[in-house]
Symmetry: none
Amino acid sequence: MLAKPAFEVQSLVTDAELVKKRRAQIIAAAVDLFAHQGYYKTTIQDVAKKAGVSAGLIYQYVRDKEDVLLLSVLDVLDSYKQEIPAATQGLTDPLDRFKAAIYAYCRVVDQRREATVLAYRSTKSLSPERRQLIMASEIETNALIAQCLKDGIKAGLFRDVDPDLATYHFVGLAHSWALKHWRIKQIAGFERYVEEGFDFLVHALLTDKGWQHYKKLQAEKAGKERKKSSKAR
Amino acid sequence: MLAKPAFEVQSLVTDAELVKKRRAQIIAAAVDLFAHQGYYKTTIQDVAKKAGVSAGLIYQYVRDKEDVLLLSVLDVLDSYKQEIPAATQGLTDPLDRFKAAIYAYCRVVDQRREATVLAYRSTKSLSPERRQLIMASEIETNALIAQCLKDGIKAGLFRDVDPDLATYHFVGLAHSWALKHWRIKQIAGFERYVEEGFDFLVHALLTDKGWQHYKKLQAEKAGKERKKSSKAR
Amino acid sequence: MLAKPAFEVQSLVTDAELVKKRRAQIIAAAVDLFAHQGYYKTTIQDVAKKAGVSAGLIYQYVRDKEDVLLLSVLDVLDSYKQEIPAATQGLTDPLDRFKAAIYAYCRVVDQRREATVLAYRSTKSLSPERRQLIMASEIETNALIAQCLKDGIKAGLFRDVDPDLATYHFVGLAHSWALKHWRIKQIAGFERYVEEGFDFLVHALLTDKGWQHYKKLQAEKAGKERKKSSKAR
Amino acid sequence: MLAKPAFEVQSLVTDAELVKKRRAQIIAAAVDLFAHQGYYKTTIQDVAKKAGVSAGLIYQYVRDKEDVLLLSVLDVLDSYKQEIPAATQGLTDPLDRFKAAIYAYCRVVDQRREATVLAYRSTKSLSPERRQLIMASEIETNALIAQCLKDGIKAGLFRDVDPDLATYHFVGLAHSWALKHWRIKQIAGFERYVEEGFDFLVHALLTDKGWQHYKKLQAEKAGKERKKSSKAR
DNA sequence: GATGAATGAGGCTTCATTCAT
DNA sequence: GATGAATGAAGCCTCATTCAT
């Protein structure tokens, strides 16, 4: 289930530990630069300088520039795959789990906003084989969401919609925050955007039973927060 | 209201008719090439050859390569601004108008699927000033959708949601078809995608009153189609 | 004596009057542009625009861009050949004539300072055949000065120096004003520069007899000016 | 006092030794080509080929083609600044020193005749900032000459002329040899040109006292040469 | 393993010149 | 005769990639 990221990117260096360390260095620099200036406007020399290594070094850990892009995008996508399970960990209620998953997705997108945009923009710059890897990773992430939906449907909380299609509506919520940030931030802050967005979309999803459940959860949450804020005083 | 596309892209040629014609030639070629191979992998020579003109000629109609990209993206965005009003023309019922608008949006995105992706990918490749133009155009298009939402809210058919935020959910429906086509096409065809997608999202939007209205429209449509198909026999 | 400027620059247009008029138009624009931006940074389109004609038109009056440069430089050099004889016209005393010639030379160089620099800079940009014409023109101009020197030597006013070499010292006076203007103007104004410069160089030239004569001329001139200024009151 | 030549031309390469070596390589090739074919007719590829390096390499040592020109011109001007002090080294007599300086100037101009012309022609092709550097270098060189003049004036050998203006007359002697070589070489060889030219101009400069001194030096020199030539037999 | 200087192919852009109108 | 749109050759410069140290 856990994807070995970039399992096919070859390296001339054999020491696995070193490969991991160097690549992390390179990718951190690359993601930052690619995200902010774009893939084509970023040179390998830029990446090398930012990573604090020589240009030649990079070619001991990747085959070519496209490999750097592939690793960069995979790095971003992997963070999704890490955050979502971590967020649902311990939760059992399907609606709870679903909400936690979506919120987690939105949160990680927000934290790596530019990088998320990078992933969108740059996939087409990759060769078909490499693009496969990206798509596979996205499918995996979507499967995490879709599973939550299936669980909710099974539990009778969600309508019997196509879980894969519905996934895209919620994924779109997270991605839009990054893609349309220039505009949306003028309308709402992150918190309100996610809350209203999730509330909006979940309306489309809930059965009557689910609806009751949702209102109960809302009330509980409101209760907790009231307590918290009264304690805070 | 009507945006003069690319109103600021200068040309050395003075004959307005010719400028229009040549630019159309150039942009048609550019959109196609940019959409399929990407902006950076497409050379001006490629565009010239495909447009059937010399490379030098292009520089009599645009300042630089980025201008070609700007005009290309604006061309795509303009088609949205054309199709949506055309689709709602003559319709008076708010729900009808809204549905027509969204369907029209989805349709034009489907027709220019690669070009839509181009618009997404390439905006960041533009200089800030040029990006402004793109953003302005997107805001205009969104305003068309948002207006439909406002009308529906006023008519009591839609819940009192933030129309600008809600617009993004529906815009996302159209865009996702292009952006995630590689995956969604495996799940559903265009017709089903739009129908189910719209039906899903509209659930989140409708009031009880709106809900009655929606079901009536569905029934009417079903009736018409039954008739049509019986005639077709 | 009078050089037909550019006697070999061909034109497609047959009407001699028109050729003269058009060329004057073109050359005036060209000299200005070449002098200020340099030959290579000036495009034929620039010249055409400044001359108020189309780019194509120019090619009916010259063979190529180099022809425009040739005509431009010859135009400048011709003005020397016009001014010097005009200035000595009517004067009979050799020293008077010589001084008038040098002053006239300096004056025309000052009036067309940038153009003079152009002549210096651009001769090497011309093909050898065209350069010949420039050189021939310069030799003609120098001959005017040299003749004055010969007359002065014959009259026993000037030492028996090589008139052609001495010519270059005085020509250098005029040219330096243009070539080193950026620096000399910080040291002296045009009037003082020419007066001190001529006075300096003429010291090197005069015989004892010439020296007496020179002082007499100075005194006369001073006298006239005193009168003039007293009248002016 | 000692100018760091081209102190502001940046290089991507850090090894100072290498920068010096490579630049010398590049500039040597560039001066030669620029001097003979002109700046604009010389391509970077030409320079690279002549320097025995790749075109890309050049851009690791200069920012653009204009930088190559700047370095080339500075290289020429620096040779003046080297030769003049070297020639006066050890000499104490002001007239001796002055003569040595002018002769040295003429000699280096003769040795780098085409390059001297390049410096004249091309300064205007440089951006204003770069032109400043050229001018500063010229002023420094002129100051060396002017100092000799001042010393001679102080010693009562030279008339009390403006040393900066007088400098230009002597500088003109050297430069004219390069600029008007096509013509002057028909009149006189280098030796005679310099001797007669200096003799001519120095006439304009000497006081009576200086004049006595000058004649004495001439006699001494003639004596030495007689001896030398008798020895040579 | 790491460096960074060197390479050279290739793209954008300019502009002299032509030619159909 | 005049126009100005069109051409296309050519140059500057960048940058991914290599390789000697």
